[in-house]
Amino acid sequence: MEMLTVKNLGISFGGLRAVDSFNITIEKGELYGLIGPNGAGKTTAFNLLTGVYKPDTGVITLDGKNITGLSTIEINKAGIARTFQNIRLFRALSVLDNVKIGLHNDYKYSTLAGILRLPSYRRIEKQMNEKAMDILKVFDLDKEAHLLSANLPYGKQRKLEIARALATNPKLLLLDEPAAGMNPSETDELMKTITLIRKKYDVTILLIEHDMKLVAGICEKIFVLNFGTELANGLPGDVLNNPEVVKAYLGE
């Protein structure tokens, strides 16, 4: 079953065609890698998928529903969550609160119930705390739950961002360079975590990454983007040995 279908997606900034005729189909439960040299348009593609930019051309379908041109908020509600290349946590809030903000749309009570501390407030806050702690446990962040998120070490901040994205209960998770800045052992741990959450939360994943060990290690399929267009697409073994890809990455 197809989770995400993108047909002929494209956007221009002035005279620059940042992404052009981008086509990708991701099956439910798949772990797809999106790679390419710097400036190839990978993050732009993410921004198009999440509604940060409105595409000039093309159609995006998520789980059978057309989500082209919807706002970021609506796209998140439809089931796409993401992390950012440069970490964007709610820095002045605790680790737990960061995840609880991810639960915002699934656990609701009115503002008035919050101000008056009605029973619904207590009940739902309790459920939120339990759910958030469950997610934090998966990422081994439960001991740091009450720390300020800005005080976490770098690797844990990256993990917390994934945890927050997962809290929105997405069908498709977009990870923008999850291993950037991590040392080899942190990367290994991250690979294990990604494999684990994929099973546990039954989520489809598309990730951008430069760390080829991670990409080759866990991705089932790889899409290579160069100058905004498709260079190669398929199984890791084929794609990474493709002479065109090697040329784009290393030069001739």
């Binding site: 964007r88 709610f90 820095r91 609880k100 915002h104 101000i115 008056l116 806050e125 809290a167 929105t168």
Partner: protein, 368 residues
């Protein structure tokens, strides 16, 4: 003791703040009953409360939502005039002060919220300096419109004019309620220290409960990272507007307190102008942006200070400025922060208790 420890940090902080307010209230009542408190101080008790409310409510916009608003005096002005207008009209028909006052507070809050919402829809697209400029202009506009507003009542109902009193075209025996630049006169002075403290507690609880709820988290998420907040599905406009409206409503409550504490309500640059908005902002900044208890403390200190420095005559505003600078350094200078950490009140208390325990232990051993 263990029960208090079990509560989370924010709840504990709130209980402490409420405790401080109550102790302050009881202390003042005792001093008044004993006849020790000066008239000057007694006259300042209600202003302390409405300045605290203003500081707390502006902190919701500046500290929690993270947007700079310079129009807070405008919302206070709306609350003051609508509340006083209601009281002036119903003094005869609703003799019960409690009911009348409650409705006046509600009306003040609702009208201020209404304007807050209206302004919010338009200006919350702007950010930072631009928002500050527009809200500043809004405050001035409100003040100037009220200065030119005439409302009278006769047997045919209300008459409104923006020119002068004779333009109201009222029948014989009509009563002018809002008289342009002369404002509203003859409102009964219903505000008491008890009412003011109760409203301060109410506003404090509303704002703190809001901050520690789902909506409050959403508001702080927008402040910390707008793009990330959007990416997890938080409706930016909605929660910005919510914070802004509630903040305005609370300023309206402070306005009602203010207008019922004086017998003739006039909109001047001094009470509802730009300087007032800046003063409230000073309370918030010095108390700590986002720190609700700090706002109250700063409002109290900075209201009392100029009054108690009166003996310095012209030098008092100079001292005021120096105090502001010293407070800023004490609050934010890294060296001062470390010093405060090393010399915190809590640690000193703990070490004193520890010594006593050890002494007790030592003496116990000696006896054995």
């Amino acid at each position: 003791m263990t029960k208090i420890k079990e509560l989370n940090k924010s709840t504990r902080n709130n209980i402490i703040t409420l405790g401080i307010i109550l102790v302050f209230y009881v202390l003042c009542q005792i001093l008044i009953a004993a006849g020790v408190m000066s008239n000057l101080m007694q006259g300042l008790l209600v202003p302390l409360c409405y300045y605290s409310i203003l500081a707390v409510s502006l902190n919701l916009t500046v500290g929690i939502l993270g947007e700079l608003s310079l129009g807070h005096a405008g919302f206070m002005c709306i609350g003051a005039f609508t509340g006083a207008f209601f009281t002036r009209c119903t003094e005869d028909s609703i003799p019960n002060v409690f009911i009348r006052y409650t409705i006046a507070v509600l009306i003040g809050a609702i009208f201020a919220a209404l304007f807050g919402g209206l302004i919010g829809v338009v200006v919350l697209r702007l950010r930072g300096d631009y928002l500050a400029i527009v809200t500043l202009a809004f405050g001035e506009i409100v003040k100037n419109i009220i200065n030119a507003l005439y409302i009278g009542i006769d047997e045919k109902g209300f008459h409104i004019s923006l020119q002068d009193a004779s333009n109201l075209k009222m029948a014989e025996g009509g009563d002018i309620i809002v008289n342009g630049a002369k404002g509203i006169t003859g409102t009964s002075r219903d505000t008491t220290f008890t009412i003011a403290i109760l409203l301060l507690i109410l506003v404090y609880v509303i704002i703190v409960n809001l901050i520690n709820s789902r909506s409050g988290r959403a508001i702080m998420a927008i402040r910390d990272n707008r793009i990330a907040a959007e990416s997890v599905g938080i409706d930016i406009t909605r929660f910005k507007l919510l914070a802004f409206t509630i903040s305005a409503a609370m300023a309206g409550v402070a306005g009602v307190l203010y207008s019922h504490n004086i017998s003739s309500l006039v909109a001047t640059p001094k009470n509802f102008g730009y300087n007032m908005s800046i003063m409230i902002l000073v309370f918030v900044v010095l108390g700590g942006v986002g720190n609700i208890r700090g706002s109250i403390i700063a409002a109290v200190i900075l209201t009392l200070l100029p009054e108690y420095l009166r003996f310095l005559a012209d030098y008092r505003m100079l001292i005021y400025a120096i105090v502001l600078i010293v407070m800023m350094i004490f609050n934010w200078n890294p060296a001062c922060i470390t010093w405060r950490k090393n010399h915190s009140f809590k640690d000193i208390l703990q070490s004193v208790f520890k010594n006593k325990k050890e002494e007790a232990k030592a003496s116990g051993k000696e006896e054995a």
